[in-house]
């Protein structure tokens, strides 16, 4: 324990002395007792690092709570401002009352520090035993460590920022992501050069988040459809626009309803708009909320075939495309390397690009020929994006990306194949067949339903299935950056 409180330009931090740690995990047990957490939630964790060759092999242990970063990504991503960085101590604190259980912070933190507690419907994290520090008591982990390997120190922020940026802190600690962890780690002398977490070869599937799969795919369908309808509207089409818009509106509404089921506290979903200035999640919520309002107006406009309305359509399209962009940006977090690529943005928009025209075609708006061609181009691009992404993972150096490739080529190989087949059939083959069989001519206002429409309906069904399966793979195959973990798969899977 430091003899004084932090002064100006200073904060508290953890010092972990790896030379002293014997891997007893007293800190983990003491932390859980201190905070009354269930066994599955561990605000402090102990991982393993191994290196060398028998008998000159060594095993070291890494005990980590929260790093109380200088630029906490949990905080910057939070849509409801549940996080705060204590101005005196620098402790990153979390308010269970403010939290709505969106769990975005659990993605944003490169160290896996915030953990969702389903019993509460909110996230929780290490607060350096703020309450104990205030009373002059050592944090539970510090007090329980029989080897004195964990300490609280005062750190001068500016100097640490300069020294720590971009530095590899220790084997088993994810590379710096700009958050600037404050934890100081003293490594043992003569740690073998190959020292690393022994679990790097092991990956397990991530949570699928079904409500988010449905939410993203269906909002993209809705946005794609509205954009298509607006374009057709601009080009002077009239038949089928109202029906198409109404269906899209309904699907979009359903999608947003599905999203609230992702929240631990759905009743407070409205709070998600709050931090739109810095959180992509807030922006997404805000844009989609506006989109659903404006698109409802636009749909009504089209349904009653009121004159004009193209400007309304333009606003709808802009809000929708903005929402899809915000959606994609949510997933662009450094701690999830497989998501953290522009391709996520491309993929999300391509989903809209495939499904939108097909919805319009099924609704009987516009020419099957042109709509089919558009969907097929989008489908082809999606296929290309998929291939590029997969190859990027295979060729990558980062263990997380290689892990994604391994998951996709082993556990999920069949599902990946099915995704490809659905994409090819629904977004390429059937639309092109439709294009080939549709009468030539740019008749935007087709009359009675034809065989081409049935074909488009089949294509739409297959394409939606394909995009849902693709999104499922997107979620389950991501391998987050993480602290060195216990070796046993069973011990990690519970995490």
């Amino acid at each position: 324990m430091p003899g004084r409180a932090p002064g100006a330009g200073e904060q508290y931090r953890f010092h972990f002395d790896m030379r002293k740690c014997i891997g007893c995990k007293c800190c983990v047990v003491a932390c859980n007792e201190q905070n009354g957490n269930p066994a599955a939630i561990n605000w402090r964790r102990v991982g393993e690092i191994e290196g060398g060759f028998f008998p000159d092999a060594t095993r070291a242990f890494l005990s980590m709570g929260c790093n109380h970063c200088l630029e906490p990504t949990c905080l910057s991503g939070c849509p409801v401002d549940a996080y705060s960085k204590d101005p005196v101590t620098g402790i990153v604190r979390h308010s269970a009352d403010a939290c709505i259980g969106c769990q975005y912070c659990t993605w944003n933190c490169s160290y896996g520090v915030p953990q969702y507690n389903p019993e509460r419907g909110v996230v929780g994290k290490c607060d350096m035993c703020h309450g104990r520090l205030t009373l002059g008591q050592a944090p539970a982990c510090v007090a329980a460590c029989p080897e004195g390997a964990i300490e609280i120190e005062v750190v001068a922020i500016a100097g640490w920022r300069a020294a720590a940026e971009g530095a590899v802190v220790a084997p088993g600690v994810p590379v710096a992501d700009g958050s600037v962890s404050t934890t100081r780690i003293t490594l043992p002398e003569g740690l073998p050069p190959d020292a690393r977490p022994p679990d790097l070869t092991h990956v397990s599937p991530a949570h699928p988040h079904w409500s988010l799969i449905l939410m993203t795919v269906l909002t993209q369908l809705s946005v794609g459809a509205f954009v298509t309808i607006w374009l057709l509207h601009l080009l002077g089409a009239s038949s089928g626009l109202g029906a198409g818009a109404l269906v899209s509106l309904l699907v979009g509404g359903l999608a947003l309803a599905a999203a609230t089921f992702h929240l631990g506290r759905p009743v407070y979903a409205y709070r998600a708009f709050r931090m739109w200035r810095r959180s992509w999640l807030s922006r997404e919520a805000l844009l989609f909320a506006c989109f659903s309002g404006v698109s409802a107006l636009y749909a009504a406009w089209l349904w009653w075939q009121l004159p004009g309305g193209a400007a309304l359509g333009a606003v709808t399209a802009a809000l929708g495309l903005g929402g899809v962009t915000a959606s994609a940006c949510i997933y662009r977090v450094p701690s999830r390397p497989a998501w953290n690529t522009p391709a996520t943005l491309v993929q999300f928009h391509l989903t809209a690009g495939i499904l939108g025209p097909l919805v319009a075609a099924v609704a009987g708006a516009g020419s099957v020929r042109w709509l089919g061609l558009t969907a097929a181009v989008m489908g082809g691009s999606q296929l290309l994006a998929l291939a590029v992404l997969f190859l990027r993972c295979i060729a990558a150096d980062r263990p997380e990306l290689r892990g994604t490739a391994r998951l996709l080529s082993t556990v999920f190989a069949r599902r990946l194949l099915a995704r490809g087949v659905l994409l090819v059939l629904g977004a390429l083959v059937l639309p092109l067949v439709g294009v080939a069989s549709a009468p030539v001519g740019a008749n935007l206002n087709v009359g009675p339903y034809t065989a081409e429409h049935a074909l488009c309906a089949a294509a739409l069904l297959l394409a939606i299935s394909g995009e849902i399966l693709g999104r499922y793979l997107f979620f389950v195959s991501v391998v987050p950056t993480h602290l060195a973990a216990p070796y046993l798969a069973a011990a990690r899977e519970a995490a």
């Binding site: 002293k20 014997i22 891997g23 007893c24 995990k25 007293c26 983990v28 047990v29 859980n32 007792e33 201190q34 905070n35 009354g36 066994a39 599955a40 561990n42 191994e50 290196g51 060759f53 028998f54 008998p55 092999a57 060594t58 095993r59 269970a96 709505i100 019993e119 509460r120 419907g121 909110v122 929780g124 309450g131 104990r132 009373l135 008591q137 329980a144 029989p146 080897e147 004195g148 022994p198 070869t201 092991h202 397990s204 599937p205 929240l263 631990g264 506290r265 759905p266 009743v267 407070y268 082993t410 556990v411 216990p486 070796y487 046993l488 798969a489 069973a490 011990a491 899977e493 519970a494």
Partner: protein
């Protein structure tokens, strides 16, 4: 799951609230007790002082006792969560009697009466020795003392032993042979005062983590760890000697050889306090560094260095645990360690001791007061004067005192198989997980006419075989004393009431004595453990383990008292044995005993090419009857694993995290996760022994130390192969039965794995 919770209106804020406890400070409100009860940890024999926090009659928290001389407030992860063992769902609550194959609740009176009648019936038909008793190292000393009298004088069967024979009988036998008596001569403080700490087959960082703080307090000491694996303790060492499995005896003899050869012995000490030096010198002549290097696989230079460091020490401490004890050559290895300490005069001084670090919380108590391998107070069965003294103290005829020890634990099991023992009483131990070569034991248990299991938990793999199950109070629910490895007697107190109708073992013993009609004779006027303590203190007076100056009050006040503690002893003084060089032999001199290294009993073959080592992990305690009920410990260590060197794995085409079977001539451990690691030597594998579901003792062997009768758990010849099946409830009939919670978790796991292939 309420609607309020589903909507997110209820975040269980009350359950997750914090408060301030006057002693432990700011903490989760649910952990703040009404009162703290001082006690001693009930896991290992380090004997840490602690408090149990009690709220509304429930144990809600624990904390280390900062004033206790052993741990100074520290606790290991098991100790930090020990209160969870009390409120476990599978606590035994009512006496159960098997009735048409079904365990049926009965009243205590009926349970005890049945037990007395069935035991007497068996004894009438097959002789007194046809009832066997297997006890434990986990009762309080008062209970061991009462139980010993009850079994040997009341039931009148000599066939009484404890699970301590699976654990430290070897140290006992070694001490007796070298020094004339059991009793670890040193103190924990010695680890802080030694300039060399030599640990042989002792992974204290995993098994006795609180002792590691003693090493940290002594940064100047050279720590040498002898272990075939790169254990957590080996990593802490200044010097790690990665010997081949069970070559420790050759190594110690090699060190003795070098010490004698280079005249580094303490001639004066040997001349005054030991006998047998010439024979010892002759016996180690063949243990040249070259030969020892060959046997141990060590660089000869490392052997020279170790000898020089040890012999050059002002004070050298040798600590050992199961690496030495679990061996058919264990007793001899202990003697060799004692020889090394004696010839260098490293005994009876600050920092200097050959020190057995014991396993169970009160294994020492049963060694002192029990009535198994010796008479109470380290008296000898074969010594008439000892028997006469006890008869006088107990006011019983001298003929009642047995003249020889009965069968040891493994011999009791063999006698059951041979139908010489027909009824068995198992107290606070779980042999269906802990006994080597399990198949033999299971066959024995099935062949019993009457099996009584007395335990704090039910079902356990053992209690499922019982005809009569007696529910016992556990740690935190009863009173008495534990003795730790450094002979410190500490108080254990009752914080909460036992669940249901469970009773303290002490009360069960007195009730059985009553039913057998021996209560007034053996336990006159006894009501409480204090009555037993009073008598035991008198019986121990004048013995090496002298309690006669101790009272419960003084023990509590000083955080435990080390024996020998006669009246008037200084409670603040660190006590060591043999400081005056007078040993417990007839002539007062220690014996230097020649020993011979031999290869371990089951060498690897092409069919079984790997040497299996077994051991522990810090999160679990023995057979997990307790720690499997502590969610955080299960979370941290949910399953067993097999450690294997990458070179072996490559040959077997195995990858990290593969599921494998470990197969020996005797059985198969199924479906264990493979850990490929450089911390184990090629040719060896390691499996932790805690897990009933994947029990290492399905493959271990029936080989026992001829002197101590301790099993050679380690060094079984095995092969490792890819797991051939996914275990299910129906197909895995060979595995011991397991409770449904574990089963469902296991099945859940295998379904998941199935999905991943």
């Amino acid at each position: 799951m309420t609607l309020r919770h589903l909507l997110g209106l209820d975040t269980r804020a009350d359950r997750y609230a914090y408060g301030t406890d006057p002693t432990s400070g700011y903490v989760s409100a649910q952990k703040i007790p009404d009162r703290w009860v001082a006690t001693t940890c009930g896991y290992c024999s380090v004997g840490c002082g602690m408090f149990i926090g009690v709220k509304d009659g429930r144990a809600v928290s624990v904390r280390g006792n900062p004033d206790h001389p052993v741990n100074r407030g520290l606790l290991c992860p098991k100790g930090l969560a020990e209160h969870h063992t009390i409120a476990a769902g599978n606590r035994a609550r009512y006496p159960l009697l098997r009735w048409n194959g079904v365990m049926t609740r009965v009243a205590w009176d009926e349970a005890i009466a049945t037990m007395a009648v069935r035991f007497r019936d068996v004894q009438e038909r097959f002789g007194r020795g046809a009832v066997g008793v297997i006890s434990t190292g986990q009762l309080v000393t008062e209970e061991f003392y009462a139980l010993g009298k009850l079994v040997q004088l009341g039931l009148g069967t000599p066939n009484y032993d404890g699970n301590t024979t699976l654990c430290m009988a070897t140290a006992v036998a070694g001490y007796k042979r070298s020094f004339g008596s059991d009793g670890p001569p040193g103190a924990y403080e010695d680890m802080e005062q030694a300039d060399v700490v030599l640990l042989i087959g002792a992974n204290i960082a995993e098994n006795h983590p609180i002792l590691c703080s003693r090493l940290r307090a002594n940064p100047g000491a050279t720590v040498i760890v002898v272990d075939p694996r790169v254990t957590k303790t080996a990593i802490l060492a200044d010097l790690h000697l990665p010997i081949r499995p069970r070559s420790d005896l050759a190594l110690v003899n090699g060190l003795i050889h070098l010490v004698i050869e280079h005249d580094l012995v303490d001639r004066d000490y040997i001349a005054r306090h030991a006998t047998g030096f010439e024979a010892l010198r002759d016996s180690v002549r063949e243990y040249t560094p070259g030969r020892v290097a060959q046997i141990t696989g060590l660089d000869p230079e490392l052997i020279y260095r170790t000898a020089a460091i040890y012999a050059g020490a002002r004070a050298a401490f040798v600590g050992w645990t199961m690496g030495v004890n679990h061996s058919t050559k264990g007793t001899e290895t202990v003697n060799a360690i004692n020889n090394l300490a004696l010839i260098t005069g490293n005994i009876g001084r600050a920092g200097a001791a050959p020190f057995s670090i014991t396993g169970q919380c009160n294994a020492m108590g049963t060694r002192e007061a029990g009535f198994t391998s010796s008479l109470p107070g380290y008296r000898k069965f074969e010594r008439a004067a000892d028997r006469a003294e006890l008869a006088r103290l107990w006011n019983v005829p001298e003929e009642r005192i047995p003249t020889a020890r009965g069968l040891a634990y493994p011999d009791i099991i063999e006698a059951v198989l041979e139908r010489r023992i027909r009824a068995l009483w198992i107290i606070a131990t779980n042999p269906v997980v802990s006994f080597p070569n399990l198949g033999v034991l299971q066959q024995a248990l099935e062949s019993l006419e009457f099996l009584v299991v007395q335990d704090g938990y039910h079902p356990t793999p053992t209690s499922e075989h019982a005809h009569l199950m007696l529910p016992a109070a556990i740690w935190g629910e009863k009173e008495g004393t534990y003795t730790n490895s450094e002979r410190r007697v500490s108080k254990v107190n009752r914080a909460v009431a036992p669940p249901g109708e469970a009773r303290a073992d002490f009360d069960i013993f007195l009730q059985l004595a009553e039913a057998l009609g021996v209560r007034d004779e053996l336990f006159p006027g006894w009501r409480r453990p204090a009555d037993a303590f009073g008598e035991w203190a008198r019986v121990s007076a004048g013995r090496l383990c002298d309690y006669s100056g101790m009272t419960y009050e003084a023990i509590e006040r000083y955080g435990g008292l080390q024996w020998p503690f006669p009246a008037g002893a200084d409670p603040g003084e660190t006590r060591r044995l043999y400081g005056n060089g007078r040993f417990q032999t007839e002539d007062g001199r220690a014996r230097l005993i020649p020993t011979t290294w031999e290869p371990f009993p089951e060498p690897p073959t092409p069919e079984f090419p790997l040497v299996l080592n077994t051991g522990r992990t810090v999160e679990h305690w023995h057979t997990r009857t307790k720690t499997a009920n502590v969610p955080i410990l299960e979370r941290l260590s949910p399953a067993a694993w097999v450690e294997m060197n990458p070179r072996d794995a490559r040959q077997l085409r195995l990858k990290p995290q593969d599921r494998v079977d470990v197969v020996s001539r005797r059985g198969r451990v199924r479906n264990v996760e493979l850990r490929i690691t450089e911390t184990i030597a090629p040719g060896q594998v390691f499996v932790p022994f805690h897990f009933a579901e994947t029990n290492a003792n399905q493959v271990t062997q029936s080989a026992f130390d001829p002197i101590s009768r301790e099993p050679n758990y380690k060094q079984s010849a095995v092969r490792v192969e890819r797991a051939t099946h996914t275990p299910t409830k129906h197909r895995d009939s060979e595995a011991p039965r397991r409770n449904s919670k574990t089963l469902s978790r296991w099945l859940g796991g295998s379904v998941f794995r199935g999905g991943r292939r």
